[in-house]
Each structure stands twice: as C-alpha cells, then as structure tokens.
Amino acid sequence: MSRYALDKVLWEYAREPAFRAAFDADAAAALAGRELSGAERAALVARDQRAIFTLGAHPFLLYSFAIALAGGWSFQLMHDYVARLEGLELGDIET
C-alpha cells in the first residue's frame, strides 16, 4: 500500500522547507522516486485536496498540507478547506 508514501509527502511538505521549496518549484520532479500510485501522484501534483482525502490520506496531515500551501492558518483557509471536502465521508486511513 502506498498510502504511507502519500502521507509522508503531506508531512514533509508541512515540515521540511527544502522539500516544500522543491515541491513548489516542480511538484512532479519533487515526487520522482516516491512509491506513489498514479492517482496519488496526480492528486498531489494538482494539489487536489479533495482527491487526496478520498485516497485515504490522514485528515490531520492533509490539513497541515493545506495550511502550508496557504502560507499559514486563517479562518478563511479553514472555511475554504472544509468547502473542498464538502459531502465527503470519513474513510479508512490506516497505512
């Protein structure tokens, strides 16, 4: 299962400035060599938070990723984030 690799990308993006800079410059290149499924890779490159959630990423890591993408937390960010997940149900997130 590649969910671990998906979660790790979210985790590193929020915590590792060098990885974040590389991802921001060229996400596909930054993910080269990562053991991700095609759907996971595409969702990450597109920063498609709804798709990443549906693929079973840990919600807390996805939220950290969204906060980092936005450059910091704000009420607006929180509302935008929830709007992207509207209608989705919690699923399995075990790695």
Partner: protein
C-alpha cells in the same frame, strides 16, 4: 512512597490561549469564557494539592512521531521538556515552554511499566507540542514544577482500544505509588470530546457544539460508568464521531488512574467558540476513596 494527589483531564485547543489574551482585554468570544473559567478552577485545585511533579500525558499530533516508528505509549526522559514547535508558535502565538524533566520518576514509571506488563517506548530527545504546553501553562502558569511527559498515540491508527489506555493509566498510578522518594505527584491528561480538525466536519462544532456522541459519552462520565466509557472507546467508534474524536482516549488514561473514583470536578463545555471539551478533576480525597 509517592502519592497521586491530583488527577486532571483538560482540552488543549490552541485557540484557548488566544481567548485568554483577549479575555484580559474584555474582548474574548463569550463562548470561550466557560473553558477559561474551568482552567482557572482546576489551576486552583492543582495548587491546593501541593504537587512536587506533574506527569503530563498528551499527543504529538504527528508533529515528530510519524508512521515510520509509531509508539502507542512513550515516556519522555530527556533532561528538559521544551516546546512547542515553531509552526505552532507561528500559527497561534503560543508561549514557549521549557521545564525540567523529573528523570528519576520518568525512569521509575518506565521500569515499573515493564514489571506491570506495559512496554512503554521511551525517548531522550523530543519536543512537546501544544497539547503539553497549553494545559501546563493554564494549570501551572508559575512553571516551577518538573514534569514527566508521556506521549500517547491518539490519532494514527491502528491504536489500542480504550481499555488499554485505562490500563496504562492504572500502571502509571501504580508506578507513582511505588516511587521511593515520597513525592506528591499530579497527573494531567489532555484530549478531546467530539472533534473533526482536518476533516469534512471541522466546522460542525460552530453550529452544533454538542453532538449526540458528546451527550451520550458525557452521560456515562457523569454516572462514573467507566466500563461503559471504555466499551465505547475503540478507534472505530470514536472515529465515526469525528476524525479527531479518538483524542478522547487520553481521558481513558485518567479513568484508569482514578481506579474507580468519581471525579470531584466534571464539566462539559460545548459552545460555538471551540470544539466540545471536557474538564475533569479528581482531588486527593477522591483519589484516596477510589483505592479503598
């Protein structure tokens, strides 16, 4: 021998320190005031207990412990407990925390756990995130006591069932009571009631601060029906009530440490200002009664 003289369960919502700053200027969201008042009540109860050291159990929120090596229960035994993480300070303006760790008690809890059948992990290098620093700063603003941090996995499944958290809480208490220095020990746990931070239900607490799950679990708590609390505290049951609701497992540690005693302070705060939160406290007399 050591003694458990105070047992406290509180939230660690990072908006509460912000609310406390605003409250000082009369500008806080009124919905945050009951939580602040509960912290103040429990601060006084903790002071009255005259503890020598605080055992503090909280989560790491995947800040440093990750799926590459995830321990359900870990004792921190570095020389000092420092935190929170810079990203947390940036987001919420949290105060820094830097407290000595009671290494002797930490090692005693660790080894006593092994003897009792609780195989704690341990760490000599860690950072304490907001779930440690916020409760400690509310409950002991003097920052004058050493601590023993216990990291518990509350959000990275699979996690053990609630009854195991209770067993670990009981083992920590037994370790405290076999501590040879006669220390007066307080134990603070921090977790959640229903919580959906990072999930699609994250804003629900703003329109429905008290969920059906909160009401049902709070009834069990008020009845001190620990068996029923634990029976309803598996990952699947808690996760179904919100992706962050497994944070309730921290309270199971407290029920285990209480040994059946009913809390002397119990208040559910459910307002639109922050997710529902539980404030529980057991004073020394209650804890004595729980062992009778």
């Amino acid at each position: 021998m050591g003694k458990l003289v105070s047992l406290i369960g509180v939230p660690h919502d990072p908006t509460l320190p912000i609310a406390a700053r605003l409250a000082a200027e009369g500008k806080a969201n009124p919905g945050a005031l009951p939580a602040l008042a509960n912290f103040e009540t429990l601060r006084k109860r903790l002071a009255e207990a005259r503890p020598d050291v605080i055992v503090m159990a909280g989560s790491d929120h995947l800040n440093q412990w990750f799926f590459n090596n995830m321990a359900p229960f870990m004792v921190g035994k570095a020389a000092r407990m420092q935190g929170p993480f810079p990203s947390e300070t940036k987001s919420w303006g949290l105060e820094p925390c830097d407290l000595p760790v009671d290494g002797a008690l930490a090692r005693h809890i660790l080894k006593s756990g092994y003897e009792q059948g609780v195989d704690f992990a341990f760490s000599d290098e860690f950072t304490a995130d907001h779930s440690f620093t916020i409760p400690l700063q509310f409950l002991r603003p003097e920052g004058d006591l050493p601590v023993v941090p216990v990291f518990v996995n509350l959000l990275a499944p699979p996690v053990p069932p609630g009854r195991r958290y209770a067993a670990v809480g009981a083992a920590i208490r037994a370790a405290i009571e076999s501590e040879p220095g006669g220390k007066r020990v307080a134990m603070v746990v921090t977790g959640h009631m229903s919580n959906s931070v990072g999930g699609p239900g994250m804003l629900r607490s703003m329109s429905e601060p008290e969920s059906d799950w909160d009401r049902a679990m709070w009834r069990r708590i008020r009845a001190n029906d620990v068996a029923a609390v634990l029976e309803h505290s598996t990952w699947d049951q808690l996760y179904a009530a919100g992706n962050g609701t497994p944070g309730f497992l921290a309270y199971c540690l407290a029920f285990g440490a209480a040994g059946g005693a009913a809390p002397s302070h119990a208040e559910l705060v459910a307002t639109t200002a922050q997710p529902a939160c539980a404030f529980l406290g057991w004073d020394e007399a209650r804890l004595d009664g729980g062992r009778a």
